[in-house]
Symmetry: none
Subunit: 415 residues, 2 copies
Amino acid sequence: MKAEIIAVGTELLLGQVVNTNATFLSEELADLGIEVYYHTVVGDNPGRLEQLLAEAEKRSDLIVLCGGLGPTDDDLTKDTVAAHIHRSLIQDEQALARLHEFFTFSKNKMTENNLKQTLMIEGGIAVQNPTGLAVGTLITADETTYLLLPGPPNELKPMFLQNARPLLEELFPQAEQLMSRVLRFYGIGESQLVTELKELIDTQTNPTIAPYAKPNEVTLRLTAKISDAAKGQALLDSLEAQVMTKVGEYFYGYGDDNSLVKVTVEALKAHGKTISAAESLTAGLFQSTLGDIAGVSEVFKGGFITYSAETKEQFLGIDHKLLEKEGVVSEACAIAMAEQARKLADADFAVSFTGVAGPDELEGQPAGTVWIGIAEKGQPAFATLQHFNRDRRYIRQSAVMKGLDLIRRAVTKKK
Amino acid sequence: MKAEIIAVGTELLLGQVVNTNATFLSEELADLGIEVYYHTVVGDNPGRLEQLLAEAEKRSDLIVLCGGLGPTDDDLTKDTVAAHIHRSLIQDEQALARLHEFFTFSKNKMTENNLKQTLMIEGGIAVQNPTGLAVGTLITADETTYLLLPGPPNELKPMFLQNARPLLEELFPQAEQLMSRVLRFYGIGESQLVTELKELIDTQTNPTIAPYAKPNEVTLRLTAKISDAAKGQALLDSLEAQVMTKVGEYFYGYGDDNSLVKVTVEALKAHGKTISAAESLTAGLFQSTLGDIAGVSEVFKGGFITYSAETKEQFLGIDHKLLEKEGVVSEACAIAMAEQARKLADADFAVSFTGVAGPDELEGQPAGTVWIGIAEKGQPAFATLQHFNRDRRYIRQSAVMKGLDLIRRAVTKKK
């Protein structure tokens, strides 16, 4: 079952609009067990679309088209597909009734070109548009199925989910379903992860293992293709266990909709611990990242941004002599910052960041040199020296991620 | 001059990643006068990529490929293109030196597979990667030019802008050049901006006016297609003057590589003024945004994150009775926060944020209710009530942008 997605619209080729429809449809089709082999974008040009359809019908069982169902002259998808499979366009009565209803309710004048939106391809199934006026069509001709959807994502998504997806499920019932599980890792690069798992990745066919590098983390997607759900889970469990023996120390959580900050805040909540921070080069990025999480106020009350040496003294009461002797980019300064922030906020934990964001060096140390301090009530504070690469933004973000991981490990006692 | 963009990566076909690279590259190529006729996405499959290359070279003068330059076995773009044009892969010494430098500095172990990233196609021009390790190639063979770029947008964009774009400009000079000027606006929505400028937009052909909405701001790109540079500048000057009479009050700066925070920090520097902040719902996002700007230490020494009522008392010394009587989401609290932050940091200006990030309401006020306070040395402090829409992240970001604009206007005395 091979599918491809064709988006029609010159605005996409001019870079004015991002093709999020292809992303949405790909995820949905994968979920239906339909494999997508190509995405193509073509402009509002009937000749090039026809050429593409001729190519696509040779290689795909299902062609999903989005865009070009609207009322204006450059909306040509329906006409082109109909001509390609030698059908006519006919009036869809339900869409027509909806159109009249819409204009009666809004009291706007209905221009003639709107009628075009209510046409569908003869012999197909009309796919109604819950949030717009353009009707879609699902039609099979010469062993290829065409699904025509509108371009605006706020119309395409509800139309697909409510009306097109059930039709596809009926038309292409899956013997096997795709079950996937996402594992998230911090502290290991993609190249090293793949090296550690090389044998597994090379020999694995079902489930498959797909690594994906994101800024400062790597995810692994394990995907089983299986008819029996329980067996699928067992396969994923077994593969996960093998992965964990190799790289388990870097694993921090499951799922696409997860992050190191979520897991860290959850750990603090679960252990009933609070956190504060004193930030120099990160300038609030750590605490702002905590602030992304709804309900973080349960564990986070506030903290300090001490960008200069003076504010490290004024806000945190760090000894002038310490700063003079050790410098601000130092283990002693990071420890003092974390300890003072923890005490002043009366928190269980505190983290501190002091270092060189760049591009220039500071105290003779190069950009990317960062000390991160961790204070914990009843424990001696410590600091760790990190060397981060790339630009200012990436260095600061890398520091925040490392700080989150240090806190997560301190809270859960995983050293 | 016909071009097409091929993105290589199974993660795109699975709907895990949005193809923003195609959007970025399309905009850039349009700016170079190069027309893009197709976007295609294909998986990490050498057979299908080869088939696509065979098709693409028949119809395009320039093929831009992104993705598949990484260290793992499924990164196959370089090999496939090299085989397609009968060339070998060779070591790029500059990329190799950078790779060694990277691993030496970060003290991470360099795995063997990283070397793959430093290979380029023989006979081409190496395109260096300023923010990553994979080197690109620009090569012309059989009248088709191939440009190979990495997949991660944070590598692709700087590589294109700094290294690939100049090469393309040289290779494909335009008889008529496109001259463009970007105007940036804060405080007006796209639909209102377009309504205000409707007549200008509808009647204008050269220069053209293209509005583009970004989170919390709108840009207008004025583009003249002209052979005479001086005449082009004059045309842009005249159009800009017309735009400014309509919406000049919202204008804050020029250029693609600009932002409200840059302009605000520049204004502070130009006036020799310093700034501090006390943040509640934004939790450091304002100060962290300042921290994005290199050299901000000249005007920013530090500030406070007072997420809870207690830390507003403890860190800022705000009167307990004020908080009890007025609440934390109040004009009085915002003013007190700004005043105290300014005094404690001994700064010329301070901004404060207190309100409801959501999703839940606070003190009976709905998510999006935000008081922003502004304190200025020798002036009475004031606060302004804002109502922001959408989700938690957007509300916090909207608050930061409004805070920057208030400070920019206060520093430059544009009320």
